[in-house]
Amino acid sequence: MKAFTIAGINLRRFVRDRSNVFWVLVFPILLILVLGAAFGGSSDPRLGVYEAGDGELSGGLVLLLEEQSGMQVVGFESRDDLVATVERGEVEAGLIIPADYDAGLQAGRSVVVELAIRSAEDAQGIRGNVQSALTQQSGVLRAAAFVQAEGAGTFADGLDVAAATGENIPDVTVTVSSVGEQIGYFQLGRFDASAQAELLLFMFLTSLTASAALIQTRRLGVARRMVATPTPVRTILIGEGLGRFVIALLQGVFIMVGTLVLFNVDWGDPIGASAILIVFALVGSGAAMLMGSLFSNDQQAGGLGVLFGLGLAALGGCMIPLIIFEYFAPTLFNIAHITPHAWGLEAFDALVIEKGTVVDTLPFLGILLGYAAVFYLLAIWRLRKVLTS
């Protein structure tokens, strides 16, 4: 009962500090929105296009480029801007369509189109796409040049005949058949993957930075005053932990419900998702208690909280998906599983990708509970010592 009183006062103090509302509620949602909008969509390479003129042919080329599969087209207003953007690696390649594109082609001259690239290898796919768009557009002109070269007629004759002939001859086509099953991770919606990762990242990060409150309680002398009351040290620590737990849980629920409503994020089986949430809130609050027991300066704990909060999340696959670790760096994949985050993500995989139920998450939840138990036990052992010596 007293533990609830202590947890309650924790919550009250937490809510009273308005900046906490920002960190716990506003910021995560904002970040998921931005990350999802910016990086969650297609990962196809981008081709920047600058049209110096405004002719029909150059416009037509852009349309053809946009129809190409496996790349995105981004328009640019100036050549310098486009080149600078390519140099900075913000688009993979830049196509510069000259001002005399239409005039040159119509006059049968050879026109030079520049493709700005940083390295030939990076732009392989894009160059192929640009080449086929050019071939498609200039087919008739090139055929006319062929007619002239073969001596079958003038360039003008060639244009007429080729245009008419082209109508009757079907294009040679390419059909793409997908083989094998798509990797689960890539079936996730635009916001799904980042929402899972951010959920775990933030629950843990906020807990760690909130450990400053525990340190404050100690520094203010209030912790000693609590020990002087007829309240077992165990109850005081459970109360403090409970306060942190409720905050982490509230944040988790908020992110989950918020992203479900706003971005329609798929969290899988609701019971399973709730179970992950509760267990991970235990892990986070346990880590907060441990942190609060180890440091006596809240500013130090704040800095280290950010270090561990972001660092463990990065290692644990919240910034780069675990599947990428698995493929590119198997050692890192193993290291990732030292962090609770990786197990949390695996639990979500079991729910969302494998379409499992809470039963399928149990092995992961068990491991996470292990983390929580270790954190809490160490924290209580350490705090008991700190508070009575």
């Binding site: 007293k2 009183t5 202590i6 006062i9 009250r12 103090r13 009273r16 500090d17 203010l220 002398g221 209030v222 000693r224 005053r225 609590m226 020990v227 002087a228 009351t229 007829p230 309240t231 077992p232 040290v233 508070l387 009575t388 010596s389």
Partner: protein, 315 residues
Amino acid sequence: MDSRASVLECRDLKKSYGDNAAVKGVGFHIAEGETYGLLGPNGAGKTTTISMVTGLLERDSGEVFVNGLPLTTTSIDAKREIGLVPQDLAIYPDLTARENLIFFGKLYEMSGSDLKKRVDEVLEIIGLTDRAGDRTEEYSGGMKRRLNIGLGLLHQPRLLLLDEPTVGVDPQSRNAILESVEQLSGEGMAVLYTTHYMEEAERLCDRVGIIDLGEIKAEGTRRELVQLVGQHDRIRLQATGPCAAGVEALASLAAVREAGVRDGGIEMLVDNADRWLAEILGKVSGAGVGISSVDVEEPNLESVFLHLTGRALRD
């Protein structure tokens, strides 16, 4: 031993930090309605002692009984009887006074309308009724101190421990604090009061323990302590005329010791000034000395401390 029931009984308390022995075998007892003062300079071991008496600090050895109940860091029952006013403020700055009181009241197992009523009473006692709804970070230093004390009174403990409650407090608040301690003691509460202000110990405490370097050097009522070390009253006469003759005239009185001429007057130590003052004045004026003023200084705890330790209280 006092005939009244002993509320606090502690024996042979010891605590060392590494090689540094902070408290080396302190023991005392406090009866119901009694105010016991621990008087000693900063660093004498007062706070360490009080921390062991409240179960905040694991002691190396010794025993503490509160109301007959043994107390350790894990005791619950004994702690119920104690109210603690720590030396440093221990309040939540981001909560209001009322919220602070209600929170700790709940930890002392109070609830409902009893708690509410008692919180109002305490707010009245510490004079914070008007500001009860403001966050304590907005309070003045004296107001925070008063709340700090109020939190110790909240659950009407049998034993109140005040650790230097007047340090850094303005004279007005200080007086209010002293008055409320007197009142509480009058209501039967046992009080342990630590201070390095001699005047406070003299005013409040029924008995005083003089503590230095982790040991109680002497203990008793003020009078007992003064007699223990055989101190004398000091009489200073502003005088004109043949002072040397006056000093000679005093030689016949056995109660007068060490009389001498100083700064245009006569100074002496007397066994009991009340008893001998008239006779002394007679002898001196009989020798032809004109007396313009008389100053009698009774021995105080300051001089006792000086005698016992060879140091002043406030070094």
